[in-house]
Assembly symmetry: C2
Homo-oligomer: 331 residues x 2
Amino acid sequence: MPERGERPGEFGMIARYLRPLADDPGAFGLTDDAALLRPEPGFDLVLTKDMVAAGVHFFPDDPPESIARKALRVNLSDLAAKGATPIGYLLGLALPADWTEDWMAGFSAGLAEDQRRYGILLLGGDTVKSPDGLMLSVTALGQVPAGSIVRRAGAAIGDVIVVSGTIGDAALGLRLRLGTLDGSAAGEGASHLLDRYLHPQPRLGLAEAVRSFASASLDISDGLIGDLGHITRTSGVSAVVEAARVPLSDAARALISADPTAFASIVTGGDDYEILTTMPEARFAAYQAAADRAGIPVAVIGRIVEGQGPPVVTDAQGNAISLGRSSHDHF
Amino acid sequence: MPERGERPGEFGMIARYLRPLADDPGAFGLTDDAALLRPEPGFDLVLTKDMVAAGVHFFPDDPPESIARKALRVNLSDLAAKGATPIGYLLGLALPADWTEDWMAGFSAGLAEDQRRYGILLLGGDTVKSPDGLMLSVTALGQVPAGSIVRRAGAAIGDVIVVSGTIGDAALGLRLRLGTLDGSAAGEGASHLLDRYLHPQPRLGLAEAVRSFASASLDISDGLIGDLGHITRTSGVSAVVEAARVPLSDAARALISADPTAFASIVTGGDDYEILTTMPEARFAAYQAAADRAGIPVAVIGRIVEGQGPPVVTDAQGNAISLGRSSHDHF
């Protein structure tokens, strides 16, 4: 194993760990100032940028493979929600002074595996010394047939509200990591929750169906209710979510049975990276069929209604449930 | 003036300070997950990403207007060097916990002024809490007529080496800031050097001429000799630079007269953000005429030669000058 003193400098590190990720001809082997992208005629480009910082979005001692994947996947999740097919990404990497070759090897391997999984390549980026902790800034590029991006604005009164997968797993996993929730009721399911926090699953398999059927769409990163509020606010409407229809994993269900107050974490906690869409009810069957073909479960959880207020979550009697704060604030 | 306790949260901050910068329809007023860019037919996109961190690339107490400009301009400088016209940018902003509204107002004003100056708009980005100091990640997008990007690779034996502006001012300015150089010989010129460090001038006025005439091009960020080495290495050639032909400001000239060892800082110190190009000698007159029309001085400083070694700087007798380390390493 190389000693600390034998670490390569900036250019050596790029050549060893990042250049192998940059096979795209427009990346110029990461030896130029900029990357080149020849847009495909008839497509719009979709651009998204998410930063993640140690101690804020991940734990400094998380495996480097997992940190790499999380930084990449939260961006791919944005593309999926907009109906876009990913093209590639630029990576900004601010490394603390004590980085090791082992760490970079793991980080690079995590990126390489996800590049294969999602069919994308590293186009370019920048590496700098971080005065403090690790910080990553990914800019991901995708494309949609011209004019077909799906926005947050667009939800119409009467539309059904649809989510993919299960909600709240990552928020519960984070609480288990932080020790603010007792996970014993979940048994071995606790590891599922921890994994959902560490490894978001961007729902790229839904992108085409989102484009075809959704009136509005985003990915849930700030919490179901907070993100639904982004849709309703930009669309000039309000929403009602039926608590009992929010899809839960077995582990999440077990934890709620033991501690009903955990439900608030599920719908406000964030980090789901599931796709939240609205659409006319008549389109849902076709959306669900397309999601089935992609192997991704989707479920109706409520309805868009007239109004200007924030989304309301109702119990089985139709009464509003109080959830405390409704959204994750990154500040 | 608002008290610390009245600061807006993330969404309020974005609405107040960043949304006014995002007039582009594809930015969706920064209310969506992603930005949309409809590429202009017949053009290639040029993508560049530079991160800057407090304590590494700028001083934490630099004016927020200046920090904003530097983060943006170092990216625009890359575009200019590639021959590209800027389109817009995405901003990643990791704010320390003690940010103030005054700071954000200054930061935002600096961006707004440069957006007008360079004809670009904010397209999107991300704001996160920084666990430590301020960090900025800008991804800038530009375009070139398809196939016309100018790369680092492309310098041919016999080409002249050309730089814009004056070299070394920012490196001397940084040394004055750090107190490692006595600036008294420069008199009032010291403020010019300090300003050159704080406010890079991206040479966008040269972009078209670079496209038309240069065989290879980059912007000088790591130091003249180190960056020239990037050109020679990717081009498979070597280079000779005549020290006496490197264009200097009056202030830099005064400092070298007082302390000849400062010359090494000038050619290796970095942060110039001038354009370093190579081209067949026969094209230089036309390049210079185009640069004149843009109001930007350009000068031949040497020649591309056969070989694989790093660039050599020669004195008036043609003897190689020893410069110590030849490039700034960000690590």
